[in-house]
């Protein structure tokens, strides 16, 4: 062990210490071996730590200090919408009537929870311009797969069994093709043109009788609005396919354009992005899916319904793709998203997008002189730069990202989308102040100068973090995936 290593909780363990307080045992205790079949009573204790309550708090507090969140500092991670996570959301989600309700209670005893879900659905229907919404999917990728399964079922119900291909742009997020594959569909790629938008001619070339759907993010992963969306919808619908909207970038178009009005048939949202259910260090998220009327029969069951003033579940859905998750989705995240929407209201949500787009364009213009701007036009909520100029000087985008760590920033998304060389993808979000944006831009400019004047500072970064660059090759070659006592 290195003297600067942060101890693992197992290394802080001392036999005999405890950190728990279980309810009293007030029933007669029998010999455990009489309560289990022979051979099924565990003989070896699991090696879990033995620590006091203070030990635990110190341990996790130390770990938290080795972690960067939105509350720690600016987090312009493109496509992830790392906006402020309102604290009222956390309080509401912890109300006993939300946090401590069992999913299998009688409907009559959970009317408040059902009302919240139903009303959230109504709000998302209006926001997306769709006809119905399910809140069951647990995350964006889960929503993608759910939507594609519905599209597949729709075509199959029409006897249209040849429709097995999903078209995705070359700039698409990796989950798109992976979700298609898990839904039993094949992926074909459509090229982007010189303006970073889907090449219509190539789209015309790839659509056909085997097209199940076109999957699209709009604005796309370059932060550009697909201006030809109506033509694309016509091409795909004309060929008998469906249009799928990946809602990862919805923060760019709230109150400006609705997927339903753009011709999309299915949309998933990432409530942990646009609607502030926090990212949680990688989840839990929530990935509701909205559909147009002709796809409603295929929605996962149960649906949440309202009859008169009573809320309930509808399980009688013979054409449903089935369940995609036990119970009704990540309710706790849905509560947070609902709280957020109700905190913002219609004018607030409109302002969200306007500021998100203003902020991105402002940063883009300020940085355009120092980094290559592959697509020189107004962006939406995010934009991409290319580090190819810096690469010629021997400094990679990865190095620039690592150098940003020295100044307390989380770097932008890098090397994505795949169709931009040395890509740097910046998404500031609307909750950041001009001062924050300016400070970050100033540091990016300083780094660009360092690349020219003293590149080694950037190449060897970070210099100030608790650990330096990690040996990822060895981690993958000789995996150590759990603690083992020395």
């Amino acid at each position: 062990m290195h003297n600067q290593d942060q101890a693992l909780i197992f290394e802080s363990s001392t036999p005999g210490r405890i950190g728990y307080s279980l309810p009293e045992m007030d029933v007669p205790e029998l010999d455990l071996s009489s309560l289990l079949p022979e051979g099924y009573l565990r003989s070896e204790e699991p090696e879990l730590p033995e620590v006091s309550e203070l030990d635990i708090m110190r341990h996790y507090t130390a770990l938290s200090r080795r972690n960067h969140g939105v509350d720690s500092g600016f987090y312009p991670l493109g496509s992830c919408t790392m906006k402020y996570n309102p604290k009222i959301n956390e309080n509401v989600a912890r109300f006993n009537g939300f946090a401590h309700v069992h999913p299998l209670q009688d409907e009559s005893s959970v009317q408040g929870a059902l009302e919240l879900l139903y009303d959230l659905q109504q709000h998302l229907i209006e926001i997306t311009g769709m006809d119905e919404v399910t809140l069951q999917p647990a995350a964006g990728a889960h929503g993608e797969w759910t939507g594609l399964m519905m599209i597949r079922s729709y075509h199959e119900a029409n006897g249209d069994l040849k429709r097995t291909k999903v078209i995705v742009p070359d700039s698409a997020h990796g989950t798109n093709p992976a979700s298609a594959s898990v839904a039993g569909l094949e992926t074909i790629t459509v090229k982007s043109n010189e303006y970073g938008l889907v090449d219509l001619d190539d789209l015309r070339r790839v659509v056909g009788e085997d097209t199940a759907a076109l999957m699209l993010t709009n604005p796309n992963t370059l932060g550009l609005f697909e201006e030809n969306i109506m033509e694309m919808a016509e091409i795909v619908h004309g060929a008998g396919g469906k249009l799928y909207y990946d809602g990862a970038n919805l923060n760019a178009v709230l109150s400006k354009a609705r997927p339903g009005d753009m011709g999309f048939d299915v949309v998933h949202l990432n409530l942990h992005k646009t609607f502030t259910g926090p990212h949680g260090g990688g989840g839990p998220g929530s990935g509701p899916v909205g559909v147009k009327a002709d796809l409603i029969p295929f929605l996962p069951k149960p649906l949440i319904t309202k009859r008169g003033e009573e809320y309930g579940f509808d399980y009688d859905r013979p054409q449903s793709i089935g369940r995609v998750k036990p119970f009704y989705g990540n309710f706790g995240i849905n509560v947070r998203a609902y709280t957020y929407i109700r905190s913002m209201g219609p004018d607030g949500l409109k302002a969200v997008t306007e500021y998100a787009v203003l902020n991105a364009n402002y940063m883009m213009r300020r940085l355009a002189e120092y980094y290559d701007l592959p697509f020189d036009k107004h962006c939406k909520h995010e934009f991409v730069l290319s580090g190819r100029r810096q690469k010629k000087l021997g400094v990679r985008t990865l190095d620039i990202a690592k150098r940003l760590l020295d100044f307390g920033y989380h770097p932008p998304t890098i090397y994505f989308p795949l169709n931009v060389e040395e890509c740097i993808m910046i998404e500031p979000t609307e909750t950041e102040s001009k001062e924050t944006l300016d400070s970050f831009v100033d540091i990016m400019i300083q780094i660009a100068k360092e690349v020219e004047e003293s590149p080694e500072i950037v190449q060897e970064a970070p210099h100030t973090t608790v650990v330096g660059r990690m040996d990822e090759a060895t981690a993958a070659r000789k995996p150590i995936l759990k603690y083992q006592k020395a």
Binding site: P103, G332, D347, A351, L358, N361
Partner: protein, 448 residues
């Protein structure tokens, strides 16, 4: 428009528009064609102040019968357990909950190390070699186990026990449709997987056999006998397991399970109307490179300091794209953290003590029902749950019980027509002797 989440002032806006070289924010949206432009505002409820919204939502929450005001005997996969108070304090640290996936290890060591510890604890409990960083929940983890098995064995048939959670089986069927897999259910006999029926169904076309331990009825499946049947045909043995029960039960790894999955909800995660919970996924070393989702591994930095990184990413969707066998991206990291804190607080001794308390209290409740003259179907041992036969619909009994502040057990008739009027009663360490006695008395009164 002024809002506490939106810091830009009119002056900021003016200066920024000038830098951009446009005269209004609207110009930035000129690329959205008129035809698809949404003009105006959404027709949704107006914004509320913090105070007013808290009041409204608190009222809405109070319309739900919660497990704090009522005494719950409802389980069926989601349980009311002891949650160490510190769990919420740890996961409320915003360095954890406002971070995203630890893509930048230098500033994400806290999250990465916490996940590494989670993986270790899951391996310890299940007796497996490798555990991932979490899945959405037990149900989708089970479906992913089936997909992994089909990919690994290049076989297209999955056998699942009828004593596996009904909702997990439904999720499995949806995923199976996606992958063109056939799902075959083994019937239940006397509350346990029908071994003779399984022998008849098992063959060399089966990718995996999936059982639950303890099963949906709270019974202990005979993993030893099952394993022999499964492996005789080189199928994979998948065990869905409540990790708390493994404090007292011999872990599935000891019985030769290839994949152990389940939900860590019993460790510090609230019921939350069904989610978010926390799926876990554990395998033998042989299957390490086929695990879905994220894995954290230990390594060192350029100065020899220990650290942690996301590793074996060649398995994942963002690298493999359409060749990926799973599309999972976000998982349940924050809930894995909650489970880690709970497992840490319980520790080596507490996890056994808590599991044993569940066993003892379940036994006591079962006996009390029997002594009161009820028919407890299925003889044998039970963890958390057992089945009581009633003389009227469970729904009716439960409505009456709720009037007395009791949330009754699960109505098995919903999933098993032959078990209409049978209640699945769940008893955890949280239930006192008095509460158990009251339940038996109240049900007895309603039964008369």
């Amino acid at each position: 428009m002024k809002h506490r989440y939106l810091p830009m002032t009119e002056e900021d806006k003016k200066a920024m528009l000038e830098t951009i070289g446009v005269s209004s924010v609207d110009e930035l949206f000129s690329d959205i064609p008129e035809k698809v432009r949404f003009n105006g505002e959404y027709n949704i409820k107006a914004a509320k102040s913090e105070t007013a919204l808290m009041k409204e939502l608190s009222k809405m929450a109070s319309r739900n019968a919660d497990l704090k005001q009522n005494v719950s005997f409802l389980g069926a996969g989601v349980y009311d357990h002891y949650m160490p108070v510190i769990v919420d304090h740890v996961i409320s640290r915003s360095e954890f909950y406002t971070a995203y996936t630890p893509y930048q290890p230098e500033i994400s060591q806290g999250e990465l190390q916490a996940i590494f510890e989670f993986q270790t604890m899951i391996c310890e409990l299940t007796g497996m070699d490798v555990a991932n960083s979490s899945m959405y929940d037990g149900g989708t983890a089970l479906a992913e186990a089936a997909m992994l098995s089909a990919g690994h064995t290049k076989r297209k048939k999955i056998i699942v026990s009828g004593a596996v959670h009904p909702e997990s089986r439904e999720v499995l069927k949806t995923y199976a449709k996606g992958q063109y897999l056939e799902v075959i259910e083994v019937p239940v006999n006397d509350g346990i997987t029908d071994i003779e029926a399984l022998k008849g169904l098992a063959n060399e076309e089966i990718a995996a056999v999936i059982v639950q331990y303890p099963n949906f009825f709270g019974r202990i499946e005979p993993l030893k006998e099952l394993e022999e049947i499964v492996h005789a045909n080189k199928s994979l043995f998948v065990v869905s397991s409540n990790p708390l029960s493994l404090g007292v039960l011999t872990p599935p790894g000891k019985f030769g399970a290839d994949i152990v999955i389940g939900d860590a909800q019993p460790f510090g995660i609230p019921t939350a109307f069904g989610g978010p919970h926390c799926g876990y996924f554990a395998v033998t070393t042989k299957l390490m490179r086929k695990v879905p989702g994220r894995l954290v591994g230990q390594t060192t930095d350029d100065q020899g300091r220990r650290g942690f990184v996301l590793t074996l990413q060649a398995r994942e969707q963002h690298i493999r794209r359409d060749k990926a066998t799973s599309n999972i991206c976000s998982n349940q990291a924050l809930n894995a953290l909650a489970a880690s804190v709970a497992m840490t607080a319980l520790g080596k001794k507490g996890v056994r003590e808590m599991a044993a308390a569940n066993l003892q209290k379940t036994h006591y409740a079962k006996n009390t029902f029997k002594e009161a003259g009820f028919e407890v179907v299925y003889e044998g041992h039970s963890f958390n749950e057992f089945v009581v036969k009633l003389n009227k619909p469970v729904k009716e009994i439960n409505q009456e019980l709720l009037q007395k502040g009791i949330i009754g057990g699960y109505d098995l008739g919903r999933d098993y027509p032959e078990l209409a009027n049978h209640m699945l009663v769940a008893v955890t360490e949280q239930r006192s002797k008095e509460e158990i006695d009251t339940l038996v008395k109240e049900v007895g009164d309603l039964h008369a």
